[in-house]
Subunit: 341 residues, 2 copies
């Protein structure tokens, strides 16, 4: 049965391939802890839809649930995904409609429409709606404007600046008139940040201690730290923050493979006192009221070439564990995606 043979009214069962977690990782996940499972989906009931996934988003935030119990064993792993409706018994979702939703890591998803968002795709690549034009870009936008409240002229430091959210955040800050410093862990990524993302300063944290690099790159301090890393990155950055500085905590990838997601100890928190620092962890879902203004601004930046996007794309559901492991090892440049062909 191919996807094209699926009955648009969902009256027939359909076969889905799903990625299951079969063993909880302790530390860095290994491919053997995952398994691709074929499953028959029942005919649709009233209100249900079938979504054929085209791209699956691979994100650092997927890691903690694998260990903390939120991802059940022997069930499909959740991820954000973009696909199209191939069968529908729900008038909100006609067949052919492109949607972004949470039931990724499978090729075919049965849904009742909860948390399924209609996206209007113009002539941009489809996967941009998981990237710069989607929740990834929105996370950067919301973090900078709604959480950190950046202002032109401020110095902004973005960690993991060559990653999915970081690469967008760093460029938005530049386009807002901030002085932008980005960190990355390889010469290739640093070159991309300098030459393509056009940051003001790029620091390779594997080359010399971050604290020293930040002192050189921001001699008069940092107003806003957009943190994707946590742990030792945060420890090194806090003492460099200026009066009334803001730390927007978007992620703490350095901790996600550790037992209980414990980070390396952060010892410099008392510096928050001296400079009255605010640190705020956020997720984009708390900020959706500004999505329309985000979408308008981002389409403009992309259309003008002011903001460039980068993707690392793996092909096929079987490659999702490798993609996640590569992501957690910092091997991706830009957005990490699985394409289902």
């Amino acid at each position: 049965l191919t996807f094209d043979q699926i009955a648009p009214d969902g009256s027939q069962p359909a076969k889905a391939r799903e990625l299951h977690l079969i063993e909880r990782p302790d530390g860095m996940p290994t491919p053997s802890q995952f398994n691709v499972v074929e499953r028959e989906l029942p005919p649709l009931e009233h209100g249900q839809i079938l979504i054929r996934n085209r791209f699956l988003s691979i994100d650092p935030a997927m890691r903690p649930p694998l260990s903390n119990g939120l991802t059940p064993l022997n069930s499909p792993i959740m991820s954000l995904a973009i696909g199209e409706i191939v069968a529908s018994r729900n008038t909100r979702f006609p067949v052919g409609q492109k949607v972004v939703h949470r039931e990724g890591l499978r090729d075919l998803a049965l849904s009742d429409g909860t948390h399924v968002d209609i996206v209007s795709v113009e002539d941009e690549p489809l996967h941009w709606h998981l990237g710069a034009l989607g929740f990834t870009g929105f996370t950067a936008y919301a973090g900078l404007f709604d959480v950190a409240r950046i202002k032109p002229g401020e110095t902004v430091f973005v960690s993991a600046a060559a990653g999915a959210v970081g690469s967008v955040a760093a460029q938005i800050a530049r386009l807002t008139g901030c002085r932008v410093i980005g960190s990355a862990g390889s010469a290739d990524k640093c070159a991309w940040l300098r030459d393509k993302a056009r940051l003001d300063q790029v620091v390779n944290y594997n080359e010399q201690p971050l604290r020293k690099s930040l002192k050189e790159a921001a001699p008069s301090g940092i107003d806003v730290y957009f943190d994707n890393v946590g742990g030792s990155h945060l420890d090194a950055t806090l003492p460099r923050m200026r009066m009334h500085g803001r730390v927007a905590i978007c992620g703490m990838i350095s901790a996600y493979n550790n037992k209980g997601a414990l980070s390396e100890g952060v010892t410099t928190l008392a510096t928050m006192m001296y400079n009255r620092i605010t640190m705020r962890a956020f997720i984009w879902q708390d900020h959706v009221t500004i999505w329309p203004q985000f979408l308008q601004a981002m389409r403009q930046w992309l259309a003008n070439g002011d903001l460039v996007t980068e993707e690392t794309i793996y092909h096929g559901l079987e490659k999702a564990p490798d993609a996640l492991i590569a992501l957690l090892s910092g091997k991706n440049l830009g957005k990490m995606l699985i394409q289902l062909d």
Copy 2:
């Protein structure tokens, strides 16, 4: 020359006794690092005043400047103080006026009026204007309402709850209709918090691990953490915070005696992500617009006996090092003061 013999017009020199730092402490300060020095103050110039100090405030925040260089050696150590004008060549400050100012740790201070605030003392004890009715109480008030934005019904945890700011903060939270948990390190302090300050739950962090105590005291989590301690206290509390919880960082006394004011490593910061926690360090000076409403509310609470104050008072300038050391060792109940008789 006694204070009564000082010429009210400041036309004669006067003798002041000042506490100087003579050696920078590395770790807990020792009395030998301080010295009382007698100094002749010159006749007043136009605009200057002489303040006779009555009470000196001894605060945790005085510790970091002793090591980080902000307090010069062989100069009087700054502290908040309350006193009265005994000579004046400044029309804003008539002789006899009570004032709160920053030039404590001396019996007589010469000032040009900068950072000198007139206080209107009714029939309450004078030292309350350094305590519940002064910047100590205001720190608690601003931290709870302007920083943490407590709401009735929320669960509030206050660390060092038997300390100067903590004891006021815990009671204000109770009076606001919050469920209040306080921590302290001795049975005496815990008894005071239960019986006098009437908190809902009191935990002795020397009795069992704080993390365990908080789990028992707040089984459904903590909305607001008013932190005076930092380090291991913060580490234990973050995982107990509820969704959209707020941490108001008022102080981090646990770090102040360490080299570079480095705290014990905080390893649980990634939990901020899961519950979208905001952590904000503040000082009262950033919130003075709400001082009038604070003063009105606090006078009422004190007058009604809804809020009780406690002081630990040492007598004489020579005792200031002992008082500071006792404070940093957690020996005080309530506000730590030096009375100059």
